[in-house]
Each structure stands twice: as structure tokens, then as C-alpha cells.
Symmetry: C2
Subunit: 210 residues, 2 copies
Amino acid sequence: MVNNMTENDNQTEDKIFEAATRVFEEKGMDGARMQDIANKAGINKALLHYYFRTKDRLFDAVFQKVAGRMLMKFAPVFEKDLTLEEKIRFFFRQHITFMQENPRLPAFVLNEINRNPARIKKLLKNVDFKKIWMMLIEQHKDELDKYNITEESIPQIMTTIAAISVFPFAAKGILEGIFENLGVNFDAYIEQRKEFAADFVIGALKSRKK
Amino acid sequence: MVNNMTENDNQTEDKIFEAATRVFEEKGMDGARMQDIANKAGINKALLHYYFRTKDRLFDAVFQKVAGRMLMKFAPVFEKDLTLEEKIRFFFRQHITFMQENPRLPAFVLNEINRNPARIKKLLKNVDFKKIWMMLIEQHKDELDKYNITEESIPQIMTTIAAISVFPFAAKGILEGIFENLGVNFDAYIEQRKEFAADFVIGALKSRKK
DNA sequence: TATACATTTGACCATTTGGTTAAACTATAT
DNA sequence: ATATAGTTTAACCAAATGGTCAAATGTATA
């Protein structure tokens, strides 16, 4: 074994990181236990502190990565050269599929941000929303006009799109409880939602047509 | 003082309850400290355990009440004798106004339910969703037909309405961060949302018209 | 092989935390 | 006044928890 050090290094760190992600996602910052993370990573608790000095730093590393991964999913939508309708359709498919694979992520991120709003600042520092905003307005000037979308209503529409996509996962616990009552299957509901959401939003926009 | 016992009893219990609500809403079950609650209630920690035996029972009492209060807000919508459009408009006004007064509630309830899904069962046990569901379908039979709403799409529409209403508060931490970047004022955005949301949903429904 | 350096571990520590207990305090009824 | 019962407190406890440390183990280099 020639270059074992770096590999092994990463192996252990990755094991820790993976275990920490699982535990933090499930229990949150306050509910997570370092011992639990160590156990799930199959290592000694002291080793956690060797790689990540404190629980806070470990959490920060995990949060930064998963929250970043989630926000990233919004990016390609703005870059692709598609019509507004295509973008909306593309976004819902992409984003909901991502959350199907990471169903705990939305609730986790939302919660931890509300618990400690300072964290989000670090995340958003690298994103220039103003620029994205301007690009979007410029790129879809004609469509915004066609759909009678004022600048003031853009935040409303954007957050509505995010809401429709994220909420089912953020409220998974409640919805599953209610759906059980109604004989609705959550997974099928989610699968269906990819198209429903796009239709719904596009329909709403069309109804604004001048 | 004649009947001081009961009054005093309630006074202390209420003080505890109020303080506990504040602390739990802010820090969550795991992050909350009994000592902190006691301090904020202006009493001894042992007295907490005198009124509510354990942290878990205290949390349960608080959660049951606030979560119930939140779910209750959905009820009057189903009972009132209004058209579907009127109901949608009424709901958004009512519900968003309620959350303006209790901005931490949505994130708190969503989070704790995801952290401990068993809790929701106790809450929903008393609500007969099947019955509400049937009533709704019967009451708005003609409108569902007019808007081409199949039974299958009702959960989609209902959760979409809830999403549009709740999400801005559940994601308040993030949104405020982003809005700051864009020069958007959160409170104004929320005020505006009461009407926007109704217009948006009704617009989407209208676009389904046969 | 000896040296230097990173990795891993078991034992340990100080603090925090939910919870208990016995005593003190208060008000009412007799 | 005194007994009774509910209320409040200070002092205390055991367990859990994040974190430390010195020793041990492994690994590459000279």
C-alpha cells in the first residue's frame, strides 16, 4: 500500500461524516449524541473530537454540506435556457426527485435554520440573489409581461413554488398521519405531485394573462 | 379571600404553561431546559415537577394545546356555508393572520412531529378526516365538477393550499435571509400574501375548467 | 532499526440536567 | 389555636454528556 494515509484518513472522516449526517438529520443538533455518532461510525468517541474538535464544528460541517446540497438544486433552473413553463416543470421534477432520495433533509434544514438563523447567513453569503433575480427578470422579460407578473409578485410566486415542492416533505409526519386516515399513499402522492405541481403553477400563471 | 386556592393554583400553573410554551417554541423539546422554564415562570424548578411530573408530560401538555390550536384553525373553513372560492379566500386570510400572531408555531409543530411522529396520532385521533372529506365532496359537488377536480387530486390541492399558507412561516429563517438580500420586507410580503395566495389558487383552479 | 508523526483507544473529568426529598410556608376548616 | 391539606423552596442526587489526556498502535522515512 503506497498512499494509504490519505485514503485511510478520508475513510475514517467519511465514516464519521456519514454517521453524523444520519444522526443529526434524525435527532437535530440538540437531540444528537456524540456517543451515538461514534457508535454508528464504528469508532471511539475521542476520535470524533480528533477529526472535528467540537460537536458544534461537526454539526456545522454536516449542515453546511447538506443545506448547500439542497440549495444547489435550485441553481440549474436559473442557468438552463428554457422557457418559464419548461423551467417550472423541470424544477419540480428535479427537486421533488431529490427530496424523495433525501426525505428528512427539508425538515432538518428548515428546523435548524429557525433554531439558529445565524447559520443561514454563512450559507447565503456565497449566493448573489440580486444577480440571479436580475438575470431572471431579463431572461423572461416577455413572459413576465405576458403573464402580467409584476416585480412585486415575484417573491410571492417563487416562494409559492418552493412551498409546493418542499412542504409535503417538511410536513411528512403530519401528512402521513392524515393520509392514513384517508387511504392515500404518501409515495404515490409524491410521485403524482411532480406533474401536478407544475400544472398547478402554470395554470395559475396562465390565469393572470392579460 | 374566599376562593383563593383555585385561582392561585391556576395562576401558577398558567405562569408555568406560558413560560414552557415560550421556551419549547424557541428551543424545541431537546433544547429546552427545565431550569430555564422555571426561571422564566419566576418559580422554583421543583415546582415544575410538582405541577407537571416530568419534562415529557409538560412538553406534551404544551404541544397538545398549541398544535391543537393550529389545527383548529382549519376547522371553521369546512363548516361555513360558502362557495369554494369564498372558502379559499376566507382560509388564507384567517390562517395567515393567525400565524402572524404566532410566527414560531408552524416551524415548532412541524419539527416536533417529524422528530416524534407518534405524537401526531394522539392529536388526530379526535379528528374524523374521512367525514370532513366526504362532507367537502358532497357540499361542493358541482364546483368540483366545474373545476374538473377528481377525487385523486383533492389531496394535492389541499396540501398545496396548506403549503402556500404555512411555508413562509416554516421557512421564515431562510426567507428573511434571502429577502434581506433583495430588499424585500417580510412582514409586507406576508400581508400581501393573504390575497395573493387566494388569487393564485383560484386562478389555478379556474384554469382547470372544462 | 530507530525516529518522527499521525491515528486510535480506554480511562477519566467537570458540568449540566432531569428529577427527588424533606422541610417550610400558607390558607382553610374545626 | 390547632390540625389538615395544598403549595413552595433549598439542597441534593444519579445519570448523561461533551470534552480531555496520556498511552498505545500503526506507518512511513532516514
